[in-house]
């Protein structure tokens, strides 16, 4: 496999050629490339990040973050408040650094897409076969209830039952998860079935090649057809290569895909409607020891309010993450909270907001992402925090630390109400890991960037197969949906 993954020193020629060029090796790109290679097509993947196989992963969180994430983990969505976006940038893309959750697209979201965007062929029945394929390919299993590990998740499960709230064990793409607690910085045990160990090897076994550390800079096109792509080789001094192709599949993620298209003067609509989920992280201190580090993330999901776009899960915990989550608190408070580290859990309330972001490509090589905070999101966030607090107190938490600047520790729901009364958008600490819908699929070229076949309007040979094509945010972890869409798009194409 390694021989088919090229790095900076391997690009000895100035120009290359292939039948299918895939930009991106994450959830959407890897599936597209594997399916095409298996059908005998000559495939090259372009990946801006480096190749880091499982055996190279360490527990050095800062170094792994610097290696696997875009901009070493710092990518803000500018607005009030600015939102930290964590985006994978390595061979395997976001699948290497996510929590491996694979969910079906909610039926009400698919209905919305059919009704509002005219998407035919993307209903639950049509996508079912692809979800089953993805689940088989990625070894998706429902996490089992544990007695000694993942106690933070188990507490959520029990508290949800007590409140009568729907809560379920999560379905994750893992093969014999060792609870290594390193999902966001690369699975040390290799249990996570990321694209790096599933679809990409399949593609490479069928003759595909990966050009790593190669950033697609501009698509050269004429007469409604993309001809070649200009590529900047990352690291070291300036080095450029060109790759010509018959077909181009763009799957660089919901920020980079529209950026590339806009920079190439191809789609004016791309990047105007970036949607995302907001993650609100709450640190909870319990009376008993949880030893949450002896577990992994997102093994249980509180889904009672998923139709309203709210999910609550136990997140990955390490001292780093506790300190970072509490960074708006004083060092004295952080010292105090960390002195009870074994009793802590970090919980994520994920919401589906109305706020929409815009990608600007006028600033050169990297996109600038800005968004306007929708006033309705504030009440949604408050509701999400109320429900999270209620659940965590029910689970036995004695202190909560909310993602609100200036809020101290919260010991009761009335105390939380006092905090929420004062909260303003700029006081919120929000992160996001799910971005999508920046090149929405639809039947009307006036409001969509790609047609229902995944083909860019007015371009004969450009497909988009990543999260960009989803017509809106989905309120669930999107990897399963992205992969199902990629299957459908490639099947329609070939």
């Amino acid at each position: 496999m390694k021989d088919s993954i090229l790095d900076r020193q391997d690009y000895t020629e100035k120009a290359y050629r292939c039948q299918y060029l895939i930009v991106g090796t994450g959830a959407g790109g890897s599936v597209a490339g594997a399916l095409l290679a298996e059908r005998g097509r000559d495939v090259i993947f372009l990946e801006e990040g480096g190749y880091f196989p499982t055996e190279s992963y360490t527990s050095d969180i800062s170094a792994m973050t610097a290696q696997l994430y875009r901009n070493r983990g710092v990518f803000p969505l500018l607005g009030k408040p600015s939102i930290a976006l964590a985006e994978g940038c390595c061979v395997g893309g976001g699948t290497v650094i996510n929590g491996a959750l694979i969910c079906h697209t909610p039926s009400w979201v698919l209905d919305e897409w059919q009704n509002d965007y005219g998407l035919k062929g993307y209903g639950l029945n049509e996508l079912k076969k692809y979800f089953e394929t993805v689940e088989r390919d990625l070894h998706v299993v429902r996490h089992e209830i544990e007695e000694n590990g993942n106690l933070d998740s188990m507490k959520l499960l029990k508290a949800s039952e007590e409140l009568g709230w729907k809560c379920d064990m999560a379905t994750r793409a893992v093969n014999d998860c060792k609870n290594g607690n390193s999902c966001p910085t690369g699975c040390i045990s290799g249990a996570k079935q990321s694209a790096l160990v599933t679809y990409l090897p399949r593609a490479l076994n069928n003759g595909a090649r990966i050009f790593s550390r190669c950033r697609a800079v501009r698509i050269i096109h004429s007469g409604g057809k993309a001809r070649k792509i200009i590529v900047r080789v990352m690291g070291g001094g300036p080095k450029r290569i060109e790759i010509s192709f018959d077909h181009l599949v763009v799957a660089g993620g919901a920020v980079q895909t529209p950026h590339l298209l806009r920079r190439s003067g191809i789609s004016g609509l791309a990047g105007r409607n970036l949607q995302f989920h907001m993650n609100l992280k709450v640190v909870a201190r319990f009376k008993d020891r949880l030893n949450a580090e002896q577990g992994t993330m997102f093994t249980v999901q509180m889904q009672e309010f998923d139709r309203e776009g709210l999910l609550i899960m136990a997140s990955n915990i390490k001292r780093h993450y506790v300190a970072m989550t509490l960074s708006q608190h004083t060092n004295e408070e952080i010292n105090s909270v960390l002195s009870n580290y074994e009793n802590l859990g970090i919980f994520t309330a994920m919401i589906r907001p109305k706020s929409v972001a815009h990608i600007s490509s006028r600033f050169g090589d990297q996109p600038l992402v800005t968004y306007r905070f929708d006033p309705d999101d504030l009440s949604m966030i408050k509701l999400a925090l109320r429900r999270t607090a209620k659940l965590l107190f029910q689970a036995g938490a004695i202190e909560l630390y909310m993602p609100v600047t200036g809020a101290g520790k919260i010991r009761s729901l009335p105390e939380l109400e006092q905090t929420l009364d004062r909260v303003r958008p700029e006081n919120l600490e929000i992160v996001t890991v799910h971005i999508m819908a920046s090149c929405p699929m639809g039947t009307d070229p006036a409001v969509s960037a790609v047609n229902p076949d995944g083909k860019l309007w007015k371009m004969d040979n450009i497909l988009v197969t990543d999260a960009s094509v989803l017509p809106s945010s989905i309120g669930k972890n999107p990897q399963g949906t992205i992969m199902a869409f990629a299957h459908e798009i490639i099947n329609r194409h070939v």
Partner: protein, 118 residues
């Protein structure tokens, strides 16, 4: 100049953390390692973030020189804290500090092991 401000801000953010104090006893270069990491992060930001950060840091550094006669990273802890409190009014300073603080924490807590009581 901008790096001396970054170094001062890193120190300000981690000095009173117990993790730092324990590490400092074992390795006097802890702050240097954390600063290097934060500095690398800033240097690798896209230019439209990197440039404003540098300008902001240089302005802060000049203010520090003018008002205290010394570079931020060379000030005694009390004076450094007092100076940094006084420049909170500078637009976007809070955002810069947030970035420095988060990245400093990310690096600092890599420096295990900790004492058993922590």
């Amino acid at each position: 100049m901008w790096k001396s401000v970054l170094a001062g801000m890193v120190l300000e953010n981690i000095e009173s953390l117990r993790q730092y104090q324990i590490m400092q006893k074992r390795n006097s270069n802890t702050a240097e390692g954390v600063f290097q990491f934060v500095s690398d992060v800033v240097t690798n930001l896209p230019w439209y973030f990197h440039l404003p950060v540098r300008i902001l840091a240089i302005v802060t550094g000049l203010l520090c020189l003018i008002t205290t006669g010394r570079k931020l990273n060379l000030l005694p802890a009390e004076k450094r804290s007092s100076f940094l409190r006084s420049v909170r009014f500078i637009p976007a300073f809070g955002m810069l500090n947030k970035l420095v603080r988060s990245m400093a924490f990310l690096k600092l807590f890599d420096s295990l092991p900790l004492s058993p009581d922590h």
